[in-house]
């Protein structure tokens, strides 16, 4: 019987994932991972551990725990801060998957004697022609392949994704039937280590803020900002631009950041031309299969919640890629990833450096 170590987060997805593997006859063990050393009202690790323990008790499987706080700090959080210092909008969950969950966690599970690991991600994997593919989860509202594009063949073939072909309401239903207290536990949103606290206050602890002015696209001052790192491209809320500056229609949006002059550039209206770009360049290019695709039907997402849109590769080497979309994309933010798809298959991706119109 194969031994599978399931990453138990205390949430409903991993709990149901474990129960499915037990039904399928695997020898299942839970492993709880702690990646952040902070005992505060914001860090729910202790409660999450207790939730995971209760689930494992119901399933009658062992729960072990491991601490990767140092690895997370060094390889994920430092990078997160570095990116913010550069005025970019990083996505730490992507790095957490490649560096922690599918590296440290995987290795630790193997040390404990596991044949494979499993997680509660909404994705699927399959073998095809000697390669393993990563596919979108079947629930279109929950698909998490965007966060896993950085995995390689070894990582994906070492993992099972038991809930990838389920829809979230079905997962909750199963959890309730199994008697898991966490069946109604709300989905975690945002960045795990920040939790529900104020993003600005959190970031201020690590990076000194440099307030400056907000200008419109003609260079006229329309307000003041608290520090460029607090804003992301396409952001509408929290700009604090008062009346009297209006020179167009609609709400203000962040169009760009001028790091050199510490100025935030804004424009009015969701249709503002400065919010839309057709092209982008990106680096840290990674293909899941190990090879660049040769596809006529390439699509890409520029952020987790974006729709995948038709595009073509205009230039590429081992490290970097240039992409042109058929239609302009809204608010392409450097630091986020562009992730490529062919149908349901997630092909890989890269970290966006620049967006522009040719």
């Amino acid at each position: 019987m194969k031994r599978i170590t399931v990453g138990m987060s205390g949430g409903v997805d991993s709990a149901v994932a474990a129960s499915i593997l037990i039904e399928q006859g695997y020898d299942v063990e839970g492993l709880f991972m702690k990646n952040w050393e902070e005992e505060s009202e914001y860090c729910s690790a202790e409660q999450d551990y207790k939730d995971a323990l209760q689930v494992c008790d119901i399933l009658d499987i062992p729960l072990r725990s491991v601490n990767f706080a140092k690895e997370y700090w060094d390889r994920v959080f430092q990078h997160f801060l570095d990116e913010y210092k550069k005025g970019r909008t990083p996505n730490p969950d992507i790095l957490c998957n490649t560096e922690i969950k599918f590296k440290e966690f995987l290795n630790y599970a193997k040390d404990l004697g596991a044949d494979k690991i499993a997680t509660g991600h909404y994705v699927r994997n399959r073998d095809l022609d000697g390669k393993v593919q990563l596919l979108k989860g079947l629930d279109p509202g929950k698909d998490q392949s965007y966060f896993l594009y950085g995995l390689n063949q070894h990582q994906i073939s070492s993992a099972l994704f038991p809930i990838g072909d389920l829809e979230k309401p079905n997962v909750r239903e199963r959890a309730e039937k199994l008697g898991f207290d966490n069946f109604e536990k709300k989905d975690s949103v945002g960045i795990c280590f920040i939790g529900e606290r104020d993003f600005k206050e959190f970031l201020q602890q690590y990076i000194p803020a440099q307030p400056g002015i907000i200008v419109n696209s003609k260079g006229r001052k329309v307000g003041e900002h608290d520090g460029l790192m607090y804003y992301t491209l396409g952001q509408r809320k929290g700009l604090g631009i008062g009346g009297g500056h209006s020179d167009g229609e609609g709400a203000w949006y962040v169009l760009d950041k001028d790091l050199e002059n510490n100025e935030l550039i804004v424009g009015q209206g969701h249709d503002h031309a400065g919010l839309y770009q057709k092209c982008l360049t990106a680096s840290d290019l990674h293909w899941i299969s190990g090879e660049a695709p040769n596809s006529e039907n390439l699509k890409a997402k520029i952020r987790y919640r974006a729709k995948d849109a038709r595009c073509r590769i205009t230039d590429m080497n081992d490290e970097t890629i240039s992409v042109e979309f058929e239609k302009p994309r809204f608010a392409t933010a450097p630091g986020q990833s562009v992730v490529f798809y062919e149908g349901d298959v997630c092909l890989g991706g890269a970290v966006i450096d620049k967006a522009f119109n040719s």
């Binding site: 709880f32 702690k34 725990s65 491991v66 601490n67 706080a69 040390d111 404990l112």
Partner: protein, 371 residues
């Protein structure tokens, strides 16, 4: 199930369990009530107090019941926080129920000094002398360490302390039932015990004090326990602890022999297939049946998980809360290098074991270590 973690806690003795159960069922009276049911409850508490007094050679009036060893330790230390002589001398391998209390309340009046331990985990009496100040009111040194089992030279410490007008507290929670615990012979001023370490119920302990005057009330309220620990008494647990103490001391000689035989069987068996094993602690002065051993090249968390998987329950010295695996501070204080430190397991044998179990433990370890 093969349980080798008796230093963490012990299974309740069947006779103790029966007594606790029957009291919970039949004697619900409040010991402060003056009617018959109250008097019955009071009587059970005082029987227990006498049993414990006999077990440790104190007077019954020198004992108060607490919620456990942690509370007993807290009460002693916090009493000195309010005293004029509020400097405490202790050492880095005490239980957190001493060290955490001191580091926390040292922002108030109390201050403390740490005496180092040697590579065997023994504190040096002469080093203690050098740490004693004008304001030193208390020396707190455990009778035996919970991780490595090293027994401390309490009598010598007491003699030195008393020459300097300093009182001595000893946390003896690991000791009752594994070595003689005689407060008169030791000469200590305070001693803490916890019932669940000697086959009694959890959530109950006792504090011995030579003189009441050095002690402040911990819990305030209805004046129970001579005003030193208010709160309606946990009668069943108190009675259970009394019986457990009696059983532990009555069977002491036999139990020590049994523990030593498990220990010898385990050590020689282990060395036969894993000669690199390092036994930590003081071989000459240690609790019987507690074996702290490092397995160089093998991480304790992995070993622990594999043993757990096969139904063998042991401890690793390294702390593990929700996640963290950190080197044991006790072993670090004894000078163990981190990579050896995190390769260490504690096996603590007890009355739930037999030699067949020790044999199966050895064979499981052999499988794991030579895998």
């Amino acid at each position: 199930m093969n349980y080798f973690d008796h230093s963490a806690t012990t299974p309740i003795h069947p006779e103790v369990l029966d007594l606790v159960h029957s009291i919970q069922k039949n004697v619900f009276g409040n010991p402060s009530s003056i009617h018959r049911l109250g008097r019955k409850a009071r009587s059970l508490i005082e029987i227990s107090r006498k049993q414990i007094a006999k077990a440790i050679n104190s007077d019954p009036t020198q004992l108060i019941f607490t919620s456990g060893g942690t509370e007993a330790n807290n009460q002693v230390l916090k009493s000195f926080n309010q005293s004029e002589k509020n400097h405490v001398v202790t050492n880095p391998i005490e239980h957190p129920a001493i060290l955490k209390v001191l580091t926390t309340i040292s922002s108030q009046k109390i201050s403390f000094g740490l005496v180092p331990v040697n590579e065997k985990g023994r504190v040096s009496v002469s080093e203690i002398e050098s740490k004693i100040q004008e304001k030193t009111g208390l020396i707190s040194v455990m009778l035996a360490n919970n991780e490595v089992g090293t027994v401390q030279p309490i009598k010598e410490i007491v003699s030195l302390a008393h020459q300097n007008g300093v009182r001595v507290h000893t946390d003896a929670v690991q000791c009752l039932g594994k070595m003689p615990v005689d407060v008169k012979d030791l000469g200590v001023d305070f001693l803490s015990l916890s019932a669940h370490k000697f086959y009694g119920p959890k959530g109950i302990g006792v504090l011995y004090f030579k003189n009441k005057d050095a002690l402040s009330p911990f819990m305030l309220g209805g004046g129970q326990e001579s005003g030193l620990r208010a709160g309606t008494e946990n009668i069943a647990a108190i009675a259970g602890m009394g019986l457990a103490a009696e059983l532990a001391t009555d069977g002491l000689g036999n139990h020590i022999t049994e523990l030593k035989s498990f220990e010898a069987q385990f050590k020689s068996g282990l060395l036969s297939f894993f000669p690199n094993a390092i036994f930590n602690g003081d071989i000459k002065n240690k609790l019987p049946g507690l074996v702290n051993v490092s397995f160089p090249g093998h991480r304790s968390d992995i070993l622990l998980a594999k043993l757990d998987r096969s139904g063998f329950f042991v401890s690793s010295g390294s702390a593990c809360g929700a996640g963290a695996v950190k080197p044991s501070p006790v072993l670090s204080a004894m000078g163990l290098a981190d990579e050896i430190n995190i390769s260490t397991l504690r096996f603590s044998f007890g009355s739930s074991n037999n030699s067949e179990q020790v044999e199966s433990l050895l064979s499981e370890l052999q499988t794991i270590l030579t895998d």
